[in-house]
Symmetry: C2
Subunit: 386 residues, 2 copies
């Protein structure tokens, strides 16, 4: 059996490249985890997800406890078997979704009572219950149940919320059943206040987890403040444990996060964008519904090996979205996840060769440049039929 641990293979400034070893296989870090909220990465088969090079995916406690139910998933062999992903799975604790989706929440020191956004039925999550659900789902990585305060909030409210989350983290750890190759992550809270972040890290490391997440960012504070908070936070986190920045972000956010010592990310952006015709590329984003793509036989990106880019032109994608065909979201989600995975691969390689800053300059210049011209990416030669 594999012990759950992270090995650092190279560093470049604050950035780290390494491998997360788990019961369900290894994951090269830094890594981006596609979001499979209810047991499916929306609009993708798991074969397609695998083909992009993704090493680990997310599931969600809140959604899966409501439908189909954690015990149902357990009886069916766990989330890996259920969704056909034998690799590692990280499950969100449900804390964030209770706050953003659950109705009629009642928070007390013990946990949260809420009504399902699906059918209004009443449910309760506590650190113990969230941990047990994640166990039933067979999550490779279990997250601590935490409280996510609505922002903006006064510093005292942020502090009180963080301290509640730290007590819940200790209870989550108590409830966690250690298994070889599995791990549990504590979640650093404290808003954008460095002292609160430091206090949170101290509380979590006193308990001791297999990894540490940074929560409560990317909630509207802006990229500059997020990066400043990371700079004040990651240096205080254990050097030998993986660091996960929750719910982040754009390609530029990922780059900035990696350069500040983050190893793991998740975000719905690439999948959600794929369903709304927005393509991520080395030249920023494109809206494929835009009329300028209607007759363009070129791929979305000349650098992409996804099904959309190797077999179809932009004109076809444009047509699919205009005609509201399911294949549009299928192909474009695939493309976006492929782009995110390619980006992470480039960053891992650059860290290995000590060239992350130069990669960052190239990436940022690309994102700020406009779409490829026809000189840079010519129209393909298309023989016309007889």
């Amino acid at each position: 059996m594999t012990r759950f641990h992270w090995t650092c293979e190279s560093t470049d400034g604050a950035a780290r490249a390494g491998t997360l070893h788990t019961a369900h296989g290894p994951v090269a870090t830094p890594t981006f985890m596609p979001v499979g909220t209810v047991g499916t990465v929306k609009a993708m088969t798991m074969d397609a997800v695998r083909s992009t090079g993704a090493g680990i995916v997310l599931g969600n406690t809140y959604h899966l406890m409501l439908r189909p139910g954690a015990e149902r998933v357990r009886a069916l062999g766990g989330l890996h078997r259920f969704m056909d992903w034998p690799g590692p799975i990280l499950t969100d604790s449900g804390g964030f979704q209770v706050m953003s989706l659950g109705a009629l929440r009642r928070l007390d020191q013990d946990g949260v009572t809420f009504r399902s956004h699906i059918d209004g039925s009443e449910h309760r999550l506590t650190p113990e219950r969230s941990t047990a659900i994640q166990h039933a789902l067979d999550a490779t990585i279990t997250m601590c149940f935490d409280e996510c305060p609505a922002l903006p909030a006064p510093p005292e409210a942020i502090a009180a919320s963080m301290r509640l989350s730290m007590r819940w983290a200790a209870r989550s750890r108590e409830a966690y059943v250690q298994r070889e190759g599995y791990g549990q992550f504590g979640i650093v809270q404290g808003g954008t206040e460095p002292e609160l972040r430091a206090e949170s890290i101290k509380a979590l490391t006193d308990v001791g987890f297999e990894g540490y997440a940074i929560g409560g960012l990317a909630v509207g504070e802006g990229q500059a403040l997020m990066f400043a908070t990371l700079e004040a936070t990651t240096p205080l986190m254990p050097q030998d444990k993986p660091r996960y920045l929750m719910g982040v972000g754009t390609p530029d956010d990922l780059l900035g996060g990696v350069m500040r010592g983050v190893d793991m990310f998740d975000c719905v952006m690439p999948t959600r964008a794929g369903r709304t015709a927005r393509a991520y590329t080395e030249r920023g984003t494109l809206n494929l519904r835009n009329a300028r793509h209607a007759a363009d036989a070129r791929p979305i990106s000349p650098h992409c090996d996804c099904l959309a880019c190797t077999r179809h032109g932009r004109a076809y994608l444009h047509h699919l979205f205009r005609a509201n065909e399911i294949l549009g979201p299928m192909l474009l989600t695939w493309h976006n996840i492929a782009y995110y995975q390619r980006l992470m691969r480039q960053m891992r390689e650059a860290i290995g060769t000590g060239t992350l800053q130069s990669l960052a300059d190239i990436l940022r210049a690309g994102w700020e440049a406009s779409d490829w011209t026809e000189d840079e990416m010519p129209q393909p030669a298309i023989p016309l039929a007889p």
Copy 2:
């Protein structure tokens, strides 16, 4: 280059097994053609379509002329390149869709003027225009433009409509540009009147086409009358040319059609059913939204090699449809097309060995039997996680 022709390899009663040779490759017949109305078989990648063994797919003149436009498709290299299907494509002439979808139709002896169901813009289709559009799309098989009368209608109306369609067939042939390996099919009309069908066949064979379709059936007349009409029609059709029964049908319709000498079929049923949780199986249809599948780890069918059946249980499909996840329609459409292709393969093999009647008995008994019991198809052994 390949001459467009059909070779008969074996017969079993009226049923025929053979090969359709085309510029875009051979097709084993009898064959079922998945419907790719606007340049996509809904909810499937073309790789998935290929994996089911499908040999030829459909496109639609009416839909493609409105969006993205036939000249656009031509400029992008034709429908094969556009939709990533290098194999044969048959295009519907648009006649049926003008009648069922177009608004404010005005029919005259020359053609039909109608308004688009998408944006209300005015368009006109004539035999010449429909044929030119199908040429621009680069259809392997071009269909004659015909008039499809709304039923029920008095015999005189059916006769007048059929005779108009025969004049249009002659004009479609005039407009058709012969190309090596390509073909054009005439469409036999005449409702359920054997004399009208005979007159129609005479008119079409006097012109001469590479194949002959049977139109105007499966429009509400019922299976018994459809089969009776086929029995009066196919014996009068050329023996050495492929026969295509348009818009048909259920698995039982396909079996009955093959046993009455039909070689080609198309229908939206398996794809449409796949989007509404209905699965075709050897034991009839299942509704995967039904609560009885919620905890069932067994595949939809023990005989199916599609992605849904080889990787997932019914419980997962049930969950996807309950949660309105796109992967539900993706997996179930794949399953249904795989089922239809397996059915056609079984029929081709049975014709080759002269056992079609015995296959028919087995198939019908299965469709009438209820779902597999757990004795017949046991729950898979699922090891529970630690």
